[in-house]
Symmetry: C4
Subunit: 199 residues, 4 copies
Amino acid sequence: MRSNRLEAFSDGVLAIIITIMVLELKPPDGADLGALWDRSGIRLLSYLLSFVYVGIYWNNHHHLFQVCERVDGVVLWANLAQLFVLSLLPFTTSWMDDQGLKAVPVVVYGVNLLAAGTAYYLLEHAMARIPGQGERMREVFGQTLKERGSLVLYVAGILLAALVVPWLGLAVFAIVAAIWVVPDRRVERYLAALDRETS
Amino acid sequence: MRSNRLEAFSDGVLAIIITIMVLELKPPDGADLGALWDRSGIRLLSYLLSFVYVGIYWNNHHHLFQVCERVDGVVLWANLAQLFVLSLLPFTTSWMDDQGLKAVPVVVYGVNLLAAGTAYYLLEHAMARIPGQGERMREVFGQTLKERGSLVLYVAGILLAALVVPWLGLAVFAIVAAIWVVPDRRVERYLAALDRETS
Amino acid sequence: MRSNRLEAFSDGVLAIIITIMVLELKPPDGADLGALWDRSGIRLLSYLLSFVYVGIYWNNHHHLFQVCERVDGVVLWANLAQLFVLSLLPFTTSWMDDQGLKAVPVVVYGVNLLAAGTAYYLLEHAMARIPGQGERMREVFGQTLKERGSLVLYVAGILLAALVVPWLGLAVFAIVAAIWVVPDRRVERYLAALDRETS
Amino acid sequence: MRSNRLEAFSDGVLAIIITIMVLELKPPDGADLGALWDRSGIRLLSYLLSFVYVGIYWNNHHHLFQVCERVDGVVLWANLAQLFVLSLLPFTTSWMDDQGLKAVPVVVYGVNLLAAGTAYYLLEHAMARIPGQGERMREVFGQTLKERGSLVLYVAGILLAALVVPWLGLAVFAIVAAIWVVPDRRVERYLAALDRETS
């Protein structure tokens, strides 16, 4: 099976997840900037963080299916698991905000990020199982150091939030996001090389 | 008429249905895990069940239009009927949760699943009516035992929920979901055979 | 410009409009069928009617762009006007339900349907302005009697709701929907003839 | 990388943003036209303005990727920044309405429009960086006078809303929208010329 429709469906779900969080932003009651900041300041920042995370997953998803185009039943469900975990992000973001960045909600938010990272890792493995795709993925994505390093950093952030102070955990999650925002040249290099070969 | 746009529209509607249910998950008032479980525990589980069901329908829809590509006006409306029935799932899921899994709401949830299964059955028939597609579908999907068996199990679950205890009905619905999650090899075998023939 | 992306964007907007209305269906407070009917009975019926209407517009849109594929700036805005008018349907449906089918809300619902029909009429004209498409559309869609007849029926329904009794207006709107649900053979005949010519 | 999936994802997000604002339209409590106007009159007008703005961005986005088809990692994030800024529009629109068009909320709405215009400007630059696309964009879009003129008008509107009267600022924003609604012939001329060359 080719991946076009899986991509279209995932685009739809990710587009909804990324925009649904705006619905959580309730306008402040007053008409001045103080009211805006009190009511929506932290929410805007955490919405930005979650928006960036969903953007990162969309980017990675896009890169992955740019390189590999064949899917099977296992990939379909690995992909749905990925989407399910990401769909919980508006909920965990919202809880974290409502409670003013207390320890447990920040930990749960971190667990959500960790689960999303793990699901992506499994999706990559499901894709690599399909004949011919494993070698190509290893060639393009290499040792997946970034993927595995992120999982370690999520655990570090969760522990910091639980044992030291919630803000510190959030800072780690923001750093991981920043690492991923830097565009991933691996796929572009691969596609450019492919272009050169075929021409 | 080719099916591309019907698929794109259905992907959009299914993507929204599957994500709309997260909006029903209201964050708990407390900042500890007990509050999370009390407020959202059962909702998370039933959200997962409904998510899996919509995922199953998306998968089946995907498989069906992978094999057959021609649609007509009857198929367009059979497809809209399928989408309408599925769009009620967030509503019936929510009612079931609000009422703490009482008998009537669980029965109504089961009726919703039964209607979705029936609509899919009708959609398959509408597709099979189009010249050339009936034989191919019989070849690929065989006796549609799984489809018809599920309808029987939904009825069994509804009766158990109504007459014995609601939880038992829900367990049957979860079992049907599990049966479908196991990837359906029929389509993959067919496409692989097709690949071999054409090459 | 080709129409693919206009179609994709319209599919997205129509998919959201058609599913957003489920969010208006609040689960009843009780756990029995009486509570379900009292709280959601009429809402379910009017949701069904609006769902069918959006489905009709999606079908017509689909048929139109199946026959004609070239768009320009005027068509882009005619299409956005169509989408804007349809996006008000969840709002007018909801008001009608909240007020228990009183005269004014039913009239406003009818005006919304009338505006949607008019917008579609304008969209057809904008498409027919593009060189080469006018003749083909006249060939396929003929006198657009159905389109113009519907506008007359909407006006009749609005007058009946305003001057006689709201239910009667709604019945007319349901009849117009039923007329459109009957699949439109014009496009299928045209595409079949085209197939025969090219082969 | 080709732009198809970036376009599909953006279509999804823009479709959701444009329709999410209908959810803010709460039906009035009474069943007469006075209640409709009191409760929803201004909201309908500002919904229309924001709808037109998102429509403009969709149109521009459509035109831009009609002319240029190659994207890279920087473009992906410039595009996500554009979508993020636009996703705040339902929030800022809603705040402006809730507060009855007071100065600060209208200014914040203007800042949102200014940020959206700036993000689009950056997106164009990110696209022009890609080899071969810069010249073609200059050829088609020329001096981008319209883009830069709009930014100046947004600033003028913001100052008028802050220092004179909010309504005046809104009027300027409506005028900018009207300027953009006039279809942009530049892209159509370019595509027509391209057609003539290739044939």
